[in-house]
Symmetry: D3
Subunit: 176 residues, 6 copies
């Protein structure tokens, strides 16, 4: 019931979640019974790199999964603050999440850290990163370019609108 | 969609979750649209007071909610590590969870902290605390008294059994 | 102007400041040109031992000094959070305060730490500690015994009244 | 006496305090009864960006206020270390300072954080920032350009001279 | 040369090291090629429980090993500060020390943590703990009972004498 | 035996140790009776700047000293994590190491911090830094240029080979 379930951990900052993430999540759910989405740098917010709080990211991810018709019952969404100790990071994540077998990552450092900690790694196929990228989305937002709205699920657009996310991003990037 | 949902935050350590907690959760779900269960002292584990990791507690809470036929779609389960700054604690929790209107608590300090931070507080009716108490459950476990199994939902018994929770509790309380 | 001024550091938690502290401050101001009152455990509040925030303690101390006709221009009031490294604590305090020559303390550990860090120590004469003690004051407050009002300067009574300090102390000591 | 006083919080790093800061302080003291000058990044020192300790900055600010004939009795100077949690920062500052009504800032992020935390914000008129800027002052110091002495109150020049501030700045910016 | 050496980690606080520890170290050196003595709670000092600094403990341990004719070339002495995350502690220790195969411990919690982290555990035979115990040694010291000198290697007596350890212990346990 | 030994502290990150470091160590051992090599940023690993763990660095330093026929009995190797408080850093190091008289450094900031903390400083003669530099070594490693092997003692080459250090460096510098 607990130990035998095959789970994978998919870490990211999700600032914000976009269709590229959704593709990875769908792909992962074909490989594992349950997927744990780890919201990294959970303590960060109100910066250009990390504009949204962990709480806002939880809501966006949940809504995005619904937009994509993903079975929420097979997904955990867990915020994890930074520990700033690379060699211990995977063990630290393991403390916050249900027992898992796979790390899910394409970033070479993250892959390495999962492997050094004794986990198997699932490497998802690359999505179109020139297109789908949180960095790019935040740049579009700052530039007032509405193209970003095509890159994220519709509920994410609505939530960012409700919390006045563009205004926030502009202000946190501002100087007096 | 996001800002207008009426949410409440119910913090606890859930070491482990028991029927008393479930009663509070059911009561709260009659008052709010969505309930955020905050797993406090998330960084703690392997002590007599906090034997289970945040990840294990997430799984137990989810399973317990299912045992009790609670609609998981209306519930968030969010682990939050300690900050050790009482005056800031509610704001710190707010960073990790979706926007909420109510704190849900009976503990006078917790009630006060929610109020000082500007939140309304819902005080659930008292459940039978002489009976349902995590402290008591852990004491039963240490004494080898199976009465504890009646105090928690059946899935929690199974999970604690799978992770050899009694053995762990005995060992973390031991001395060489 | 800066380096040649003879200063002393008087650390305490001041939960709350009482006439015994005032006596030490007056005594110290006869020995040094400027006195630095360090509010220790500045990050703590809302506990039985540390009910008041650093900000509230700053205001109480300032008001108490005025009640006692102490020349505020010769006094610094500086909150310093805990560092939890005894061997480094004095150097850590030194980072937060103007350059000083003397530590002012009666507690043997504090005296020792000042000396090990290379500072001279001024040991104030004992005031009546059976009478003047923050612990005793907080106990009186909890018991509803108005005797505590005689032990602190009148402005401190007024401020504690304004911030509903007794109610807070009662609540932080409560259990649900 | 405590709660009804109208106070404003003016945060900065004051590395070092200059005439531009003094203008803001004078302006603020026309709007509020008491002004709280918060020395941010209080734990930092001996870097190019933050050469002076919190204790040195306290002394410089106090001396600068005297140079400018500002009533010290209406001013609090409070060092606050970084917390690295933007979403909680204002509440964290509030723990260290007397109760206040206004944040005083021109930086868009700081304005936003005060507002999100429920405070009103007073935006001071811009002083000549091309001229008065701590960054510029530190650059002049490093270049050996005495122009910086015109940008800060005379006592600040004297204190920096006494603590051999230019030598320190040169050394912390050096490499072996 | 590095990976193939069979190493064991022996954690303790060594406040101070005594003949019981020496016995364990000798026993362990028969089982492993290299022994890593981890000085836990390295950041602590000047308390009744942890009177000596990490640096002092390093010197005492090295001297004690020499007293006991132990081959220092086969031993590492590594101070490790607390992390306050039980579930991650072994991985955290692993970051500070050379690659190792065995944990060496009798304490059930420590044994469990090593095992959960995937290490084998060597359990040394019990030494006479009623006799050899750092707690007992510190109590003797506080009581002025010279019996403690028989419980530690002679160099440890000399070092504690040189650093005026008894005086320190008395002062850190004192109250004003 | 303890207090009268003349010791020096030589801090560095040793990522990795090279012949330039060895020269400094030899030079220092002519000036002091015992040398304490402090491994700074001990908590860091798996980054481009700090690829190796503290444990790995301990082993490399010990092996390098043997390669250079340095008397290990006169040397301590002590990992110290960052404290991020420049003004306290030397006192913090002092907590982790045996009592010492000299700081050993060429970096102007480090020299200054030792002096401000009341220590004398020994400034080693410059070695050929255009040649011997950990930054350069790591760059060579990343570029696949075997020149780095001439810059470090042979045991360090072997250890980096055993732990697949080049692969790690490449991966931690990679992006997905």
């Amino acid at each position: 019931m607990y130990r035998d379930v095959i789970r994978g951990v998919y870490p990211g900052r999700f600032q914000p979640i976009h269709w590229g993430h959704i593709e990875v999540i769908k792909w992962a759910l074909e490989k594992v019974e349950e997927l744990i989405i780890v919201i990294g740098s959970a303590q960060e917010s109100h910066t250009i790199i990390n504009p949204f709080t962990a709480g806002e990211r939880i809501v966006m991810i949940k809504a995005a999964l619904k937009d994509a018709n993903i079975d929420l019952d097979r997904v955990y969404i867990v915020p994890v603050p930074d520990i700033l100790l690379n060699a211990v990071w995977v063990n630290y994540v393991a403390l916050y999440v249900p027992k898992f077998r796979y790390g899910i990552a394409r970033n070479p450092l993250v892959i390495r850290l999962f492997k050094e900690a004794g986990y198997e790694v699932l490497i998802p196929p690359p999505y179109d990163r020139a297109m789908y990228s949180s960095t790019r989305i935040r740049r579009y937002m700052l530039e007032g370019n509405d193209e970003w709205k095509k890159l994220v699920p519709p509920s994410v657009v609505m939530i960012i609108d409700e919390i006045k996310g563009l205004e926030r991003l502009r202000e946190v990037s501002g100087r007096d």
